[in-house]
Amino acid sequence: MTELLEVGAEDRVLEIGTGSGYQAAVLAEIVERVFTIEIVEPLAASARARLEELGYENVDVRHGDGYFGWEAEAPFDGIIVTAAASHIPPLLVEQLRPGARMVIPVGPPFQVQTLMLIERQADGRVVQRSLMPVRFVPFTRAE
């Protein structure tokens, strides 16, 4: 999924679903800055502490609902979503910079979902491609 983003050292990436912070750390090694959102508050807090402890200074962790993205920091050069949504959140598509890619699993909770690659092309056209069947945890939950 990280490779699919095709991001590099100059890029700013948004991650939805921080979890333990592992994916954010991987991205932090590759890109300039990582913005990551986690809906479960204790997870967000522990990931923030863990990343700080490990010395990742280019990661911003926020507790919130990833459905709305991170408007203040948009647009992004890549968005990676690590939980399955029932549809592709429109605001995330809007927060992609022309030429940027988003990787997101979509589909009903606990069923077979599809990993989608979404690309906002230079002319603003959004093209998507379904890559493979996957099964991720649901996008939104309280804890």
């Binding site: 429109p90 009903p108 909770p109 989608m116 379904s130 649901p138 939950r141």
Partner: protein
């Protein structure tokens, strides 16, 4: 009526009520295709009791009444105890393939739930031993009880949650016990008093009345959303409906493609309506302003509004009203919203009225409580500009293929022809489906529309069709008139503005059909062009899934499974991907297989061991009672499926057909018993009676195949009570004669080989439950007509076998 008869009547009613209630419970706890499991469970109970009584015949002799009373007592407490225990088993369908312990849980569940069915069958079989000379009369009471029980439990489910039904049934069960115990001597009555008091008290106190629902169902997930709370519930025989409010419920009728949320705003606040804890329909907050519903112009389902101007619109499957709001947003002149589930009506009009803003009370909206096709049938021809089919099933249900066996008369070629007739000259029919991977639903739908248009006299259907898709939905529009240049331009503009792909439009090129949601091959375009060409038959033959159109004879639109492709499905499953699998179909095949294995192990094998050296003709008896079980269920299931079209509500069809079959068969049994009672011992007479009955069943059944479609069409517009009365009238002669062969044969066995009576009863019960599952499987592959004809073949085999049984000499 004697006490024994009253007890048997009540026990018959309890058996069927419990079975129907458990099917509802399993639909809520797991997924509805899993409700087929109850068929195997009932079979297990029936088969085992018949075999046990047959094997313990000598020990039972002389104690029949006591054991019947004890069985009734055990039944009255087992209803709740077994239900409560079953809800403690941590069974989870979802983990069946990944967690070996689940198979053990499934087996435990089977054994627990089979106990009440064992006891029902135990009591009835003992009843036959108590009255060996009048088995027809006892059978009559059992059948009448079952018929009334079917009707009563459906009525009960309007008021009582399925989980509470076992507790409610404890009262008639206790009455059955007291009736059965009434025939015992005082000593036994006193002896039974203490255990009776204890067991009857144990039932209600253990009745948890809670269903252990799968943690992977939609409702369980919704309850874990931020600030989630239950805001309303409703209950009907169709579904248990739970309304959940949460800021994180964001259901949309498909992908919002290109929706500028920053500019046009977020989705309105929603309440999710969860049906049986699974599929969801969103109820949006509505205050009369339509602007917040602009997002509905960014889904494929908005396509027909680009082809119509202020249409008189019919929305089928209105649910929480999202399609009604879409019609109003797009300027519909008037919207008729048809919804089949009375629970939705009740919630939207009462408890959630404030939230829904009186949507269904607007002057330009009419809400109708009806099944979609039945309602359309009653509309005047040419009276609608747009018939819009919402996404009737949820995304998750569609993904899992749980509807694979559900009959749907909404998407048959005959139905599409009907919709075309009801459209105005410029009117359009629009159907939206969730898209599956690999593609199948939308392809089948497209083929159905093409064939229906041809049958309706449209020479070139390709000029009337448009098909637009996003990544997860496809909308196909069939216009009564050829699409104009202006309309085709509107389709192209709509698609390119929204980032949707046009999979078919007259004159479209391959390169234009795969621009936004890019597939490896433009499969929908290729399928559509093949279906419109002379390559259609070849396409149906070669495609990996069953995509031939559904018809009224085979209305299984959601069945895509093909045995030819089974290897691919298994290969996919081995790699952990179940997306190719049609779970409903798999569950049914598993049920048939389990029932067949159990039937062999629990009925046939004991028979072979038990009957060794006991004389000739047992094979004939096995054929007779098994064939009758199959034949009866083949006809019953075929007619339930057939009457669904006429009675509109599946639940009415089940209740009416079951009640008619069982009650009138009971009357047939009673009439035959009176006749047989007069002629017991005169072999040719009993054989003649069965032969006449079988001939009449075949004659009436064949006449039905011709007459029923005509009668259904003529009476389609009748009110519900009229159609129900007509159905009962239509079914009564057939059911009456179907009630004759079983007790006639059982009487013969009772007279000549009385110890085989429980075994014959168990065998017939086992064949009946297996027959129910098998009938569904056969209907899927061969159609209803074929199932009816197979039933006649079974009756003919039974008549021949009876001829050989008549050669039995007295034992």
């Amino acid at each position: 009526m004697r006490r024994l008869h009253a007890a048997i009547l009540l026990i018959g009613a309890l058996g069927i009520s419990y079975e129907i209630a458990l099917m509802r419970v399993l639909s809520i706890a797991q997924w509805h295709h899993f409700a087929y499991m109850i068929i195997s469970v009932a079979m297990l109970g029936f088969a085992v009791s018949g075999t046990v009584i047959a094997l313990l015949r000598r020990r039972i002799e002389g104690r029949e009444r006591l054991l019947l009373a004890a069985g009734a007592l055990a039944l009255s407490s087992s209803l709740t105890i077994c239900f409560t225990l079953s809800q403690m088993v941590p069974f989870e369908t979802f983990r069946l393939t990944s967690e070996p312990a689940q198979l053990r849980h499934l087996l435990i569940l089977y054994l627990i739930l089979a106990v009440p069915f064992f006891l029902v069958s135990w009591c009835v079989a003992l009843g036959f031993l108590i009255e060996p000379r009048r088995v027809g009369r006892l059978y009559f009471f059992n059948m009448i009880g079952s018929g009334l029980g079917a009707a009563a439990v459906v009525a009960l489910l309007f008021w009582v949650r399925p989980a509470s039904v076992p507790l409610v049934l404890t009262a008639p069960a206790a009455l059955a016990f007291s009736l059965a115990a009434g025939g015992l001597g005082r000593r036994w009555q006193l002896g039974l008093l203490i255990p009776a008091a204890l067991m009857l008290a144990a039932g209600p106190t253990t009745g948890g009345q809670q269903i252990r629902a799968s943690e992977y169902k939609g409702l369980a997930h919704a309850l874990r959303l931020p600030d989630a709370r239950v805001v309303a519930r409703s209950q009907s025989p169709l579904s248990e409906l739970t309304a959940i409010a949460s800021s994180a419920i964001r259901e949309t009728p498909g992908q919002l493609s290109g929706y500028p949320m920053r500019e046009l705003g977020e989705l309105p606040e929603q309440i999710g309506l969860y049906f049986d804890g699974g599929s969801v329909s969103a109820l949006s907050r509505f205050d009369g302003a339509l602007e917040p519903f602009a997002f509905l112009d960014y889904v494929t389902g908005a396509l027909p509004y680009r082809l119509t101007d202020r249409p008189e619109t019919l929305v089928v499957g209105a649910g929480g009203g999202i399609e009604v709001l879409s019609a109003l947003y797009h300027g519909a002149r008037h919207v008729t919203a048809v919804e089949v589930d009375p629970g939705v009506h009740a919630l939207v009009r009462e408890e959630l009225r404030e939230h829904s803003g009186g949507l269904y009370e607007r002057e330009d909206v009419t809400l109708v409580l009806a099944e979609g096709r039945g309602y359309v049938e009653g509309r005047p021809d040419g009276s609608l500009d747009l018939i819009q089919f919402a996404l009737l099933d949820s995304f998750s249900a569609a993904s899992a293929g749980v509807h694979a066996l559900a009959e749907s008369y909404l998407y048959t070629t005959e139905a599409i022809q009907l919709y075309l007739r009801k459209l105005s000259p410029d009117g359009v029919l629009s159907i939206t489906r969730w898209l599956k991977t690999p593609p199948r639903d939308a392809i089948k739908l497209f083929g159905t529309m093409v064939e229906a248009a041809e049958r309706a006299g449209i020479a070139e259907p390709g000029l009337h069709l448009a098909f637009v898709r996003s990544w997860n939905t496809g909308t196909i529009v069939l216009s009564r008139a050829p699409l104009t240049e202006g309309q085709m331009g509107a389709v192209r503009d709509f698609a390119s503005e929204r980032g949707l792909d046009v999979s078919y439009l007259p004159g479209i090129q391959r390169v234009d059909a795969n621009r936004f949601t890019v597939l490896d091959e433009p499969i929908y375009y290729e399928a559509a062009t093949a279906l419109l060409s002379d390559r259609r038959e070849q396409f149906y033959r070669d495609y990996a899934f069953h995509v031939r159109p559904a018809s009224d004879d085979r209305p299984h639109f959601f069945r895509f499974f093909r045995w030819r492709s089974a290897g691919r499905f298994i290969e996919g499953a081995r790699h952990g991907w179940f997306n190719f699998v049609e779970w409903g179909y798999v569950a049914l095949v598993a049920t048939v297989a389990q029932a067949a294995i159990m039937g062999f192990l629990l009925v046939l094998l004991p028979l072979i061991l038990f009957a060794r050296g006991s004389g000739d003709g047992l094979g004939a008896a096995a054929v007779y009672f098994a064939a009758l079980g199959f034949a009866y269920m083949f006809l019953e299931i075929a007619f339930i499926q057939r009457f669904m079209l006429f009675l509109a509500y599946p639940v009415y069809a089940v209740a009416v057909v079951l009640t008619a079959f069982l009650v009138f068969s009971g009357l047939g049994a009673y009439a035959a018993d009176r006749r047989l009672a007069a002629i017991v011992g005169e072999r040719p007479e009993a054989l003649k009676l069965v032969r006449i009955a079988v001939l009449l069943i075949a004659a009436i059944g064949l006449a039905y195949l011709v007459v029923i479609p005509v009668v259904f069409r003529a009476a389609a517009g009748w009110p519900d009570p009229g159609r129900i009365a007509l159905s009962l009238l239509l079914l009564s002669p057939l059911a009456f004669f179907m009630g004759i062969p079983f007790p006639a044969g059982l009487q013969l066995v009772s007279d000549r080989r009385s110890r085989l009576v429980p075994w014959a009863w168990g065998l017939n019960g086992a064949a009946s439950v297996l027959g129910a599952a098998l009938a569904t499987l056969l209907a899927v592959h061969l159609g209803f007509r074929a199932v009816v004809i197979l039933a006649f073949a079974c009756y003919a085999a039974a008549a021949a076998a009876l001829g050989s049984m008549h050669e039995w000499t007295d034992a």
